[in-house]
Amino acid sequence: MLVLVLDSATPAVTAAVVEVGEPGVGDPGVVVRAGRSAVDARAHGELLAPQVDSVLREIGARPRDLAAIVAGLGPGPFTGLRVGLVTAAGMGQALDIPTYGVCSLDALGWSAARVNGPGRAAPGKVLAATDARRREIYWAVYADRVRVTEPQVGRPVDVAAAVARMGVLSAIGEGAHKYAAVLPLALLDEPRYPTAEALAALAAERVRAGRPGERLTPLYLRRPDAVAAAGRKPVLQA
């Protein structure tokens, strides 16, 4: 089954066409047929649709050949995150195919377990972190691919204290790299951003089972900056 995978929760904007087949032993049964990823936090809106068009063309597929769409739900900076989700939702509606959401941090957690395999980096609990701007990170902790904390947003120094208490030894993701000086953890070099393979693998069971499509609700984790207009201020008394 051909599945379109989109993620715009980080400075990287990613589109890929993935073949989702039957899983083998130690193999999630997903193969990336064509993928594009570009790092430019300011241009998600410009980059994503051409990427979708180009991955489909690369493998000679039409949009109607897609069986499902998988999208990273964040957490991520709001404006960029919405680009991927609304593109996925619109395409899903236009093609009448299901859309499935995956927490973008889970994709990093999944990848950490992969690179953490025998003879690689430290096993055990891993911190996945992305840049939340305003000197904060979005983060969650994984134990062998299973998320053991809720996705959260916080200051790196507070996250460092929290993960120390949890016995986390290593970290993955751009947020961990950016604040490496504050987070005393072994860094996994790659991937820095959620990969299409990981996102597809995390949704593969739902895709294969033909589960009902899901509404793609972003993980904002922050309230909107909305300052209530003050009551009437006397204009004359400056």
């Binding site: 809106g45 410009e46 680009v83 395409m91 236009a94």
Partner: protein, 348 residues
């Protein structure tokens, strides 16, 4: 006619999520979801709240528009979307959605100018627009006088507000008077019980010295301050504030300047058609005064029904169908949302 272009339009530049469907000059559907209630307690539109609401509303609004029009995405000839001007994050939701629909349905996309769409929507109500025409666009976000030579090719700005937009002045004065947000409708209602000449509020940029540099520009900030000063003086004196009279006199000051300058623009350019659009065009006094004054000068005034004056998807579809019919090339898939899109650009 079935061979006229069938175009779908998406609008998300402020707090209204609109999807419209138009065939040629015929309106087939105009579905709208508004987040205005979510902004009311802030006394103005909160951009992030608007963006979040657009993301939630776009799919159901699209479904309603397609159902109402009795068409599918496969049937449409093109998808048009507001590319600017407007709130950056809000525009981006609509543009990204439109691209998703366009890529999936393999349709051309047109990123269009919101202000030109406010002019184009009148085609749905009154048929093809005589060109050239003068357009007066007044809303919470914009107050502009435009010379429309060729709606498909370019619109020439003649003047604009130098401070507050006309609709913003309505919102601020409504707040002064303890009326709800948005301020246009409650002021219009209150004004019906009041005297428009009860209080002589100032007419911005109408003095001879201002006209030299700002003949077609507007200013509403001084008016707002004058209303505030008048109301406060009353309150300090312990006297009741005659809300209907203040509303009527304020509204008269706004509508007087808007219509006088619009007619001056028509006469200066020898143009016999005035189109009025934007949310403030729903104001009953503006409509009446424009009709009255234009009739005296032999100018035809065209104001679409109130629902088409406020932001909606039909106006975007109306402009899109005009562009398709005129043979204008579609936009590229990497078209940006441009919060400061210039008026001279009708489609990107």
């Amino acid at each position: 006619m079935a061979d006229e272009p069938l175009v779908l339009g998406i609008e998300t530049s402020c707090d209204e999520t609109g999807v419209g469907v138009v065939r040629g000059h015929t309106l087939l559907a105009d579905a709208l979801a508004s987040s205005v209630d979510e902004h009311a307690r802030f006394g103005g539109v909160v951009p992030e709240v608007a963006s979040r609401a657009h993301l939630e509303a776009i799919v159901p609004t699209m479904r309603r528009a397609l159902d109402e029009a009795g068409v599918t995405l496969a049937d449409v000839d093109a998808i048009a979307v507001t590319a600017g001007p407007g709130l950056a994050g809000a525009l981006l939701v609509g543009v990204a959605a439109a691209k998703g629909y366009a890529v999936a349905a393999e349709k051309p996309i047109y990123g269009v100018n919101h202000l030109a769409a406010h002019v184009a929507v009148d085609r749905l109500e009154h048929g093809p627009l005589p060109e050239p025409a003068i357009a007066l666009l007044v809303s919470g976000g914009h107050s502009s006088l435009l010379l429309v030579d060729d709606l498909a090719g370019g619109v020439q700005p003649l003047g604009a507000t130098i401070d507050d937009a006309a609709g913003e002045a309505f919102d601020k004065v409504a707040r002064l008077l303890g009326l709800p947000f948005p301020g246009g409708p409650p002021i219009d209602r209150a004004a019906r019980e009041g005297e428009p000449d009860a209080i002589g509020f100032p007419r911005g940029l109408t003095a001879p010295k201002d006209l030299a540099a700002h003949r077609f520009d507007f200013s509403f900030s001084g008016l707002k301050t004058a209303v505030a000063r008048w109301v406060e003086a009353r309150e300090r004196a312990g006297e009741p504030v005659p809300v209907p009279d203040v509303a009527a006199s304020f509204q008269e000051a706004v509508c007087d300047v808007l219509t006088a300058k619009a007619i001056d623009a028509c006469r200066a350019h020898g143009i016999g058609t005035l189109v009025i659009g934007g949310g403030v065009a729903a104001n009953s006094r503006l409509r009446a005064l424009a009709e009255d004054r234009c009739a005296k000068h032999g100018i035809t005034v065209r104001v679409p029904r109130p629902k088409l004056c406020t932001d909606n998807g039909a106006m975007v579809a109306a402009l899109g169908s005009h562009l398709v019919a005129a043979g204008v090339a579609p936009s590229r898939l990497d078209l940006p949302a441009d919060s400061a899109m210039p008026l001279t650009v009708v489609s990107v």
